[in-house]
């Protein structure tokens, strides 16, 4: 994997370490990162994005604790071998949860009927 695969938005409300973990989750869940694939070193990620290496270690640490990554001796971090290439539907659904909640909130604020929103969403998903 290349460090450029990650996008960092420093001024987003989300802390940078969380942005990294979220992106790793999504990349792994979608199969873009395969089990056993070695991740760029903390230095590479920090250097490429000009961010604090501590932030990257923290993100890797969290992903490791979550079971997304595992530490390989002499190689650094890699996608956990126990990880199935593609996760179960409920797991992948969970990744979408924040965006769905935001969508629901906006729809309520605009006082849109639920079935209209769902119809539109279904159409978008169908394409």
């Amino acid at each position: 994997m290349d460090a450029s695969l990650l996008t960092i938005q420093p001024n987003a409300p989300e802390p940078i370490y969380r942005q990294i973990v979220d992106q790793l989750r999504r990349l792994i869940a979608s199969g873009q990162l395969l089990a056993g694939e070695v991740l760029p070193s903390v230095r590479d990620v920090a250097g490429f994005h000009a961010i604090n290496p501590m932030t990257v270690s923290r993100a890797y640490g969290m992903a490791e604790a979550e079971g997304l990554l595992e530490r390989l001796r002499g190689k650094g971090m890699a996608v956990a071998a126990t990880r199935k290439a593609v996760q179960s539907e409920s797991q992948r659904m969970a990744l979408l949860e924040p965006q769905l909640q935001a969508l629901a909130r906006h729809a309520n604020e605009l006082e849109l009927p639920a079935d209209a929103v769902l119809r539109r969403l279904a159409k978008l998903l169908g394409d």
């Binding site: 409300p13 370490y17 230095r43 920090a46 501590m54 923290r58």
Partner: protein
């Protein structure tokens, strides 16, 4: 935040002395208060970003902490020594780049680096030479004839080549173009992460701070208003918006409070000990918005 702090602590247990400490620093210029009793301690290996509006006292604080001005009251310590009486050993461990550096304009870039290098025991002349080349600065031009951005870069090279353990930068990115700024941030980030260099820098550009800083301190009207880990700050504070009809339910504790024209209320609130937002956020019509540091800063400093 805790994780970061512990990590720092474990890495640097051999060096328990804090690189920079300010105790009750107060100073004023011609009657107007620049600093109002500032306490600040910087942990070894951390990158502290200092933000504040123009005239908030950032430069004064930095200069007082390095013993470059005599504060009216309070003391500052650099690696445990009183800032106004630094020993040679301590001086060789620190580097400072002032805002718009303009020192030694009568030397060429090459001469300046050669001259300064003679005084520092760990001077990395190879780094100085290669960085000068990489940053495309003509080594034989007088410093006076360089642009402000080039001047800043030469002074940054000067500071970095001395391989300091404490690097203090006052608005380092102000005169730099985006590419040079990114390079500087990279250098700072990697030095902090690998060599354990402690960095203090002041800036207006909040996104720079969000990239490399581990901690942030808001200086407002001569006081540290908020001091927090960068990630922590983003997760702990948010804007609570209450429509006019329920604005009476606003929590009493808030960092800032603004009444909007339509009678609604905007507050900056913090999570409580259990990680919960104040009660009022659950009321119908109330809204919690996560904020970037810049928005948070603007809300507080307004």
């Amino acid at each position: 935040m805790n994780a970061v702090f512990n990590a720092v602590h474990m890495e640097t247990t051999h060096e328990p002395v804090s690189p920079l400490v300010a105790q009750g620093l107060a100073h004023c210029y011609e009657g107007s208060n620049a600093l109002n009793g500032v306490d600040l301690t910087i942990a070894p290996g951390s990158v502290l970003g200092l933000i504040g509006r123009n005239g908030a006292g950032k430069s004064t604080l930095i200069r007082a902490m390095l013993g470059l001005l005599q504060p009216i009251s309070g003391t500052a310590f650099v690696f445990g020594e009183p800032a106004l009486k630094l020993s040679d050993d301590t001086k060789s461990r620190i580097a400072y780049v002032p805002q718009q550096p303009d020192a030694l304009a009568w030397l060429t870039a090459q001469q300046m680096l050669d001259f300064v290098g003679r005084f520092y025991p760990r001077w990395d002349s190879a780094f100085a030479k290669s960085t000068l080349e990489r940053w495309k600065i003509q080594p034989n031009r007088l410093l006076a004839k360089l642009s402000p951005g080039e001047r800043q870069r030469v002074d940054l090279i000067r500071a970095l080549a001395s391989q300091p353990e404490l690097l203090v930068l006052d608005e380092p990115a102000a005169a730099l173009d985006p590419v040079a700024r990114r390079e500087l941030l990279r250098e700072l980030a990697l030095r902090a992460g690998e060599a354990g260099t402690t960095v203090l820098f002041s800036t207006h550009i909040v996104s720079d701070l969000e990239r490399v800083a581990s901690e942030v301190a808001f200086l407002h009207e001569g006081k540290i208003l908020l001091r927090c880990g960068v990630d922590d700050t983003k997760e702990r504070y948010a804007r609570l918006w209450l429509p006019a009809k329920i604005s009476a339910a606003a929590p009493s504790q808030s960092l800032s409070r603004r009444r909007n024209e339509d009678g609604s209320l905007s507050l900056i609130v913090a999570r409580d000990a259990n990680g919960q937002w104040p009660e009022a956020s659950t009321l119908p019509g109330a809204r919690i918005d996560a904020l970037g540091l810049e928005d948070l800063f603007v809300e507080i400093a307004e």
